[in-house]
């Protein structure tokens, strides 16, 4: 007979592992990626591949240099790579994308302790770093369905000036507009988000609060709410960035506050700021507030007495 293993309870196991969660996120991103590929052409695939592989390589070597365990197999670097790629214009030079991956994985994620320890969303932060470093390359939008990349420049729907002919709702839903390669097709992003919610990987609290508050504020301000939630990176941000585990609050209440904050900040930037798009900044700002939101939105403990005031 073998030596018996003695360990603390529970002895039953659950099979949802970290890598399983990440795999589900990747699956949820596939529709939007396919849509991007259909809309903007094959360079979507190569750019995504460059991002994913450089994220994995950065993850592997930074962990090695820091003498930490290898975490490439948990697939979180793959998710970061795909998400970052989806936040880039399809024409971005590969070397710039690699710099973005370095910022995301090494600076934002690993220097703060790796998965779960980073305070800001790696993909969002990398996008912002690229945006302020290479403003022209990062706002070089091409017209959809145009396979000659350098031929025509166009604006994103949100950057279109007064009087320009705005795209229809249908175009926005299907992503037939200018923009980052993964953010234009609202329908595909919605499908991915609902898939994650159905698998109970994410809670819909933050996305609903985000999209809802943005629409409400835009309506109050006299803008077209539907147009504002469909255009730009709202769906990508709401379903895939505002639901990131490490950088958003844990409790349901906290997630609502987080989503609400994102909606308000996005509204303020879009309405009063000089940037046409505010989703990335709003999520980054709320990431920074997350520890405080967490402190203030702790769960109600069953049968707990109020803390005695004179204690300590």
């Amino acid at each position: 007979m073998n030596k018996l293993i003695v360990s603390p309870s529970p002895h039953d196991e659950n099979y949802m592992k970290t890598s399983g969660i990440m795999l589900n996120v990747i699956i949820a991103l596939i529709p939007a990626l396919c849509a991007g590929c259909y809309i903007f052409g094959w360079r979507v695939i190569t750019l995504t591949a460059v991002c994913v592989s450089s994220c994995m390589i950065f993850e592997y070597f930074s962990r090695r240099i820091m003498k930490r365990s290898n975490t490439v197999t948990d697939l979180s670097a793959v998710v970061t790579g795909v998400l970052l790629a989806m936040n880039l214009p399809v024409t971005l030079p590969y070397w710039m994308a690699v710099i973005g991956c370095f910022v995301a994985i090494v600076i934002v994620k690993q220097l703060f302790g790796g998965l779960g320890q980073n305070f800001a969303n790696p993909a969002i932060t990398a996008r912002i770093v690229l945006m302020v470093s290479f403003p022209s390359a990062m706002s070089h939008w091409i017209q959809p369905a145009s396979y000659e990349y350098d031929a025509v420049s166009s604006a994103t729907p949100l950057a279109m000036g007064e009087g320009a002919e705005l795209p229809s709702y249908l175009d926005l839903l299907l992503g037939n507009v200018g923009g980052c390669l993964g953010e234009t097709c609202a329908l595909a992003l919605l499908a991915g988000g609902l898939y994650l919610a159905a698998r109970r990987i994410i809670s819909l609290a933050a996305p609903v609060a985000f999209i809802g508050s943005l629409a409400a504020l835009m309506a109050i301000a006299g803008e077209d709410p539907l147009y504002h939630i469909l255009a730009g990176g709202v769906f990508l941000g709401a379903f895939f960035m505002a639901t990131d585990y490490a950088t958003t609050p844990i409790t349901f209440k906290g997630k609502l506050v987080f989503g609400l904050g994102c909606g308000i900040i996005t509204f303020v930037i879009r309405k009063f700021g000089s940037y046409p798009e505010g989703v990335s900044f709003s999520i980054l700002l709320m990431n920074i507030l997350t520890p405080y939101i967490d402190q203030m939105t702790r769960t109600k403990i069953f049968g707990a007495k109020e803390a005695e005031k004179n204690e300590g």
Binding site: L4, P10, H11, D12
Partner: protein
């Protein structure tokens, strides 16, 4: 009324339709002197003594103790040292059986005239909570504050175990008898018989039996773990909240396991103390899972072999359920009063623990509304003030947080370690 958090488990109640099988009398038994919560007993017999079934062989003067009776007739061969599942060492009485099962003269129905004599009789029966925790029944039935509700815990929320379910199906009259007994002796108005929704047969049976009795209310609990936890079952069946530091009797409730009340009913009729029990034998290393009735002191190894377990493949043996049971180091340990299940597995969890990804699953599932991920962090830096604020003392170690953790962090274990940091007042 808000529902408390819980998790859906794979119930694996493979033995729910297996009628209880009587196990043959073992050639020898080893009866540990510590089986219940509280002080262990002193052996009242010595090597060479003849003992009979139901004869008291161990007792203690400590307030929190329960006497122990011989489960067999035969000769005491030794008083040895025995290590219990929790790691404590106590004495054990080893008896070689004579096969006669002669019943001791001590065994006769108790005479109950008032509440005091009832409590005394309950103590003499050797009864303790048969659901696994082993709380002395005579203490539970003697609360300091008035009690108006009796909650019968028939949730059996752990996977695999069907011992209580078989008691309900096979001895339903004893269950009702025991309920009426406790009800009349303690002057309790209402009874909630709380059964988990995954036992429709039992719910149907008792609904019919209690049809004419307005005081017994059959409560269907949702099929989510841990319904059988004391505070959870009280809230879900009565809506009352047992606050931090309170006992159930402080909110007017007593919770008793369904097999325990059925045992009390039988004891009042025949006076045979607690010397036998039913346990579920299952697990993926067990080829022929069964419900078995056997004498206290039977070796686990004999039971496993009887259920066609390939002992060479066994890597883990769990006494109790897979969520809260204890894994034991030795197959030669004995069946005790609290053994409701014996599970043998040919594998164990070998996943590595990785970093917390803050997914919040542990927070979502905690029935007490605790935040295990935060407790984990506070424990790492030994922040006692924070641990107090996070109310780690309220953790009942149901194991739900560890179970759902995708990073395989041992959160429930950490909670228990964190509790030891907080000085007792």
């Amino acid at each position: 009324m808000n529902k408390l958090n819980g998790i859906r488990l794979n119930h694996r109640k493979n033995t729910e339709n297996s009628p209880t099988e009587e196990f043959h009398l073992p050639a020898r038994v080893k009866i540990p002197m510590s089986m219940t919560m509280g002080a262990s007993c002193q052996p009242l017999v010595k090597a060479g003594d003849m003992v009979k079934v139901g004869q008291k062989i161990g007792d203690s003067d400590a307030a929190f103790s329960v006497p122990i009776h011989s489960s067999v007739s035969g000769t005491v061969t030794a008083i040895s040292d025995y290590r219990t599942a929790s790691g404590a060492v106590c004495k054990a009485v080893e008896i070689e059986t004579d096969g006669q099962q002669t019943v001791s003269e001590e065994v006769k129905p108790p005479v109950v005239t008032d509440r005091n004599s009832f409590i005394k009789a309950v103590r003499e029966s050797g009864a303790c909570g048969l659901g696994g925790a082993g709380f002395p029944t005579h203490i539970k039935l003697n609360p300091k504050t008035p009690v108006d509700t009796l909650v019968i815990n028939a949730a059996e929320c752990e996977p695999y175990i069907t011992a209580d379910y078989r008691e309900m199906i096979e001895n339903s009259a004893d269950v009702i008898g025991g309920i009426k007994l406790v009800q009349s002796q303690l002057g309790i108005k209402g009874v909630k018989l709380a059964i988990e929704a995954n036992k429709p047969e039992a719910i149907k049976k008792f609904t019919k039996m209690a049809e004419d009795d307005d005081s017994i209310d059959i409560v269907t609990l949702p099929s989510s773990y841990p319904q059988g936890a004391e505070k959870v079952i009280i809230y879900n069946s009565t809506g009352r909240i047992v606050m931090e530091g309170q006992l159930p009797s402080d909110v007017g409730v007593i919770v008793m396991n369904v097999s325990t009340v059925a045992f009390l009913c039988r004891y009042m009729h025949d006076g045979m103390p607690l010397v036998r029990r039913r346990l579920t034998i299952d697990g993926n290393a067990v080829s022929d899972p069964k419900n078995i009735m056997t004498v206290i002191g039977t070796s686990f190894r004999e039971l496993l072999e009887y259920c066609k377990t390939d002992m060479d493949s066994v890597k883990k043996i769990v006494a109790g359920g897979p969520m809260m049971g204890m894994s034991i180091p030795d197959a030669d340990m004995s069946v005790v009063k609290t053994s409701n299940a014996l599970l043998a597995f040919d594998r164990y969890d070998q996943r590595k623990t990785s970093a917390c990804i803050r997914c919040g699953r542990c927070v979502r599932v905690c029935p007490m509304g605790l935040m295990p991920a935060d407790i984990d962090r506070a424990y790492k830096i030994k922040n006692i003030e924070e641990l107090r604020k996070l109310k780690v003392m309220l953790c009942m170690n149901c194991g739900s947080c560890t179970y759902v953790c995708p990073a395989n962090r041992k959160l429930a274990e950490t909670n228990q370690l964190a509790k030891t940091l907080i000085p007792r007042k």
